[in-house]
Amino acid sequence: MAIQEPFRASQVPVRSLDARARNFRGKLFVGRGEHSVELDEVGAYIFRNIDGLSSMGQIAEKLAAEYGIPAELALDDGCEFVTTLAALGIVAASGPSAPGDPAGQGV
């Protein structure tokens, strides 16, 4: 697994075009190449909300509202989860990063 810079609130994640997804008996599986992972409910919620337009901060806001959890926790967990998917090449960062944000990596 490649070393992956952690995602930041300002970054916009996009699903990789070469990432597969399957909705099997209510469970969402995503994969790329030889890697495939089963997402839990929260992971699936985040993945479904990656639309190439919403920033991690915006996705975290939705997550916090959906599950009634503190916004900061939603952002931390969301970024950690998306960073893991990015390390697998399943998502990448796109769009503007905050000025001086070292994690910016537009595609």
């Binding site: 075009l17 597969r20 997804a21 399957r22 909705n23 099997f24």
Partner: protein, 266 residues
């Protein structure tokens, strides 16, 4: 076929019954006879054949040539005739053969990871036709077999196969795009779109993937919530493909395939 069926269906069924009776094509141990294909689905045109499946307890003897099948008995006799300016094709299945076909797509087979390829094209078409036919004789038999299909993993096998094909075609498209083989990438992306649409339709129990000429009809009939007919037809005809930038169409099409496959529940 009830008296509340649309007039077109009643007329088609009556014509089928009349043809079978007049030609002496109903075996004494018949379980069911049903009209299939475009006539049954309401998609026929003046040049369409009438396709009828007859199911009996035993194999019809002396019926002439047939289709060799990996079943026991290993032949499906076929009668072809012409009447009223139409071509009539009657396939004679046994009840046991149909049970064998259903066994190949049982839930147990799916659980152990067997693939949909265990059905050949004729068998796959058989099940589609049971699901969409107009009964002439033995409506109860048809109802019971449809219930058997719903309890089987036929749907899961087909959806899994179509989405697998879609993934492979998408990978090809992206590889060709990376290699700047743009026209090949367009064709691969188009294939990926078609496989994804097939998977979507199959997930809605709208079968018939093997007869691609009816894909537009199937989309219109199934009316998937995640795909409007207009969007489908735009992709099918590559309406917004820019000849100066085909890569953009490829990327948008693959993106749609990926997003849609995620919404198809297996």
């Amino acid at each position: 076929m009830s008296m509340t069926s649309p007039p077109r269906e009643r007329e088609s069924v009556a014509a089928g019954r009349a043809y079978l009776t007049a030609a002496g094509l109903i075996p004494p141990d018949v379980c069911a006879a049903f009209l299939t294909g475009s006539v049954a689905r309401g998609w026929s045109n003046p040049g369409s054949d009438y396709d009828i499946y007859v199911v009996s307890e035993g194999l019809l003897r002396n019926a002439g040539p047939g289709i060799l099948m990996p079943l026991d008995p290993d032949i499906v006799p076929v009668h072809v005739g012409y009447a009223d300016g139409r071509r009539w094709e009657i396939k004679y299945w046994t009840d046991g053969q149909i049970q064998q076909v259903l066994d190949k797509v049982s839930a147990a087979c799916f659980e152990v990871g067997e693939t949909g390829y265990s059905l050949n094209a004729v068998e796959e078409l058989l099940i589609e036709r049971v699901m969409t036919c107009l009964p002439i004789i033995g409506a109860e038999w048809v109802t019971a077999r449809r219930e058997d299909v719903r309890k089987s993993a036929y749907r899961e096998f087909l959806v899994t196969r179509s989405l697998g094909f879609a993934d492979k075609a998408a990978e090809s498209a992206l590889g060709q795009l990376a290699a700047r083989d743009l026209h090949s990438a367009v064709l691969s992306a188009h294939l990926a779109m078609r496989h994804t649409v097939d998977g979507l339709l199959e997930s809605l129990e709208c079968y018939g993937t093997k007869t691609g000429k009816w894909r537009a009809r199937r989309v219109r009939d199934a009316a998937p919530a995640v795909l409007s007919y207009e969007q489908y037809w735009s992709m099918e005809t590559m309406r917004d493909l820019d000849p100066d930038d085909p890569g953009d169409w490829v990327r948008r099409t693959i993106s749609w395939c990926r997003a849609t496959s995620m919404q198809i529940e297996i």
